[in-house]
């Protein structure tokens, strides 16, 4: 994002970077949502100064001695100044406390290996222990194949952690951003109590190319995009970047009493008696 001018891949109009910074990297011309890194996402979403990161020091190994994986990790760490593809921590959104996790596609397409799985799992476990809601901004190319069966098993691990959190009566909001595919779609991304997506995000299990090859026909326009999924009942809501903080703040307020888990509905808790 160091270029002074940025061309919109959707409408082709070029804007000054300074204008896009003000518009949260949403094209003022056509509303296209440019990809943003995890730092920007956190800045746009949580109350200023409220974010405290945990799990920052977790680093990937190369357990399979997979060709070129170590080099790939090194160059991604250098390019992003991050240790792995997800940032986790606590924050407040419009003053409501929560655990937040944000995936960052600049790091090996935010594919899920042991570290991403472990950090997501720890985020759920922290939220469960402290009776906090959790918000996860997903984006991922899927499982990290360079970690073989370890990466596949992260799907089971994160899903089980999400279930424990849910069984305690706590809230999980999943926010799907472009692109969310493969093993992440088929695990925690689709396990939110509430599932929100950014406009025009590509969301699916199989990639469009694989599907085209399998069924041997062109895919319809808009296939696997947020709007398509909303129409097919696979999403609760599409929320633009501009409205995201307000929407999440409102959802958290609507669930603030669930942070004290209880077995049944009691009217007194709302002070109406």
């Amino acid at each position: 994002m160091s270029n002074l001018f940025i061309k919109c891949p959707s409408c082709g109009v070029t804007h000054f970077q300074s204008i896009l910074v003000k518009s949260l990297f949403v094209c003022p011309e056509c509303g296209f949502h440019h990809g943003i890194d995890s730092a920007a996402r956190i800045k746009y979403t949580v109350d200023k100064g409220s974010f405290t990161e945990f799990g920052k020091n977790l680093c990937s190994l190369d357990p399979l001695s997979f060709p070129n994986y170590e080099e790939k990790l090194k160059s991604s760490m250098k390019a992003t100044n991050m240790n792995e593809a997800v940032v986790t921590g606590t924050a407040t959104i419009e003053e409501s406390p929560c655990v937040i996790a944000v995936m960052d596609t600049r790091f090996i397409m935010a594919s899920m290996g042991s570290v991403v799985g472990e950090k997501i799992t720890r985020a759920f476990e922290y939220a469960t222990e402290h009776n906090l809601p959790i918000i996860i901004f997903t984006a991922s190319g899927g499982a990290r194949m360079q970690e073989g069966i370890y990466s596949l098993m992260q799907m089971a691990k994160t899903s089980a952690a999400a279930k424990k959190h849910s069984d305690k009566g706590l809230l999980f909001v999943s926010v799907l951003t472009h692109p969310t595919t493969g093993g992440v779609t088929a695990s925690f991304a689709y396990l939110g109590d509430i599932i929100i997506a950014e406009p025009q995000a590509l969301i699916g299990f199989a990639g469009p190319r694989v599907i085209e090859q399998t069924i041997n026909q062109k895919l319809p326009t808009g296939f696997q995009r947020s709007e398509f999924l909303l129409e097919h009942g696979m999403l609760d809501k599409i929320v633009s970047r501009e409205m995201m903080r307000e929407t999440l703040g409102n959802i958290l307020r609507l669930h603030q009493n669930v942070s004290k888990p209880q077995k049944e509905y009691r009217i007194e808790q709302y002070g109406l008696k």
Partner: protein
């Protein structure tokens, strides 16, 4: 010489020995029989040697052998009074997954598994064992039914992966798989999953969140197919051999990495060579596992199930 050729020659040798055994009679037979037995034994050990040196991609071919027993075969061999159930109660019956109830020994169990076809027509009907969301939803419905009636669950895993198609995506392939992982993690009944052929990615794992996970000796369990991996990494699916090696997808590696609990032995040439032998080996492992699992309270079982998957992964901090 190719492995296939050696195998054919060994087979021919065995046939000759068999004919010899039949043709020769009386005292002559008495004299020659020990020699024949000896020859048979060395043929067998040669074959063992042959298959010990099997390459990863050859293992993949064994795992995909169309003559391996399928879920319905194992049900025939292991389950008495089986009743098959159909449909997800939402949209349709996906025949890429079959399931139902029956007796294992004297225990009522729910049995579910991917089902590949026996011929082209059957395979088209069953999408080569690649389920749509409805298959996973049927499986979950049957597993929740098992929970209700306190029946253990036995799952057979054999799929190239979940079906990549228009309808599958429209109706929530990702959501269906995710929901199975989620619900299985706290299902209040013992679950045993056995990889009987191809353990293809999330589509396999959706039947694999279990208290005991076994692999047959010549099967694979992988995050991606070797062909898919090769085409992404090297833009060349013909490099699947290298990918199969790099991915470490065989039973020994999966056991070493903690993804499975045990390996079930097969004949050297694969389960396709002796269905009954494999079924017998499997019966024994299931029986022992059910006995072990029945000792625990449900709470302990769930805690162990959670921890089993919780600890999988390699990292530093």
């Amino acid at each position: 010489m190719e492995k296939r050729d050696i195998e054919n020659e060994l087979k021919e040798l065995q046939n000759k020995l068999d004919t010899l055994k039949q043709d020769v009679q009386g005292d002559e037979k008495k004299a020659i029989l020990p020699i024949i037995n000896q020859l048979e034994e060395s043929a067998l050990s040669l074959k063992a040697e042959l298959y010990r040196k099997i390459t990863p991609i050859e293992r993949v071919q064994l795992a995909r052998n169309p003559n391996r027993p399928t879920t319905l075969d194992y049900i025939k061999y292991l389950i008495k009074d089986f009743v098959q159930f159909h449909g997800d109660r939402r949209f349709m019956d996906d025949e890429a997954i079959v399931g139902g109830v029956g007796f294992f020994e004297k225990i009522p169990v729910t049995v579910i598994g991917h089902q590949k076809g026996r011929d082209v027509k059957d395979n088209i009907k069953r999408h080569f064992g690649m389920p749509h969301p409805e298959g996973y939803r049927k499986a979950l419905r049957l597993m929740q039914q098992a929970e209700k009636f306190h029946r253990p669950i036995i799952n057979f895993i054999d799929t190239p992966g979940a079906y990549p198609g228009l309808g599958a995506e429209e109706r929530g392939q990702g959501e269906a798989i995710a929901t199975n992982l989620y619900e299985m993690s706290t299902l209040r009944t013992p679950i045993i999953s056995i990889v009987t052929g191809e353990g293809g990615s999330g589509g396999a794992l959706a039947l694999g969140v279990a208290d005991r996970v076994f692999m047959l000796a010549n099967t694979i369990y992988s995050v991606i197919s070797p062909e898919g991996c090769a085409s992404i990494l090297w833009r060349d699916s013909s490099k699947s051999g290298e990918a199969a090696e790099a991915l470490k997808i065989d039973a020994n590696n999966c056991l070493m990495m903690g993804a499975i609990d045990d390996i079930i032995e097969e004949p050297h040439g694969g389960a396709n060579e002796d269905h009954l032998k494999v079924a017998a080996n499997m019966r024994e492992k299931i029986r022992i596992a059910l006995e072990e699992l029945s000792q625990y309270s449900i709470e302990t079982l769930l805690e162990q199930r959670y921890n089993k998957f919780r600890k999988i992964g390699q990292f530093k901090e």
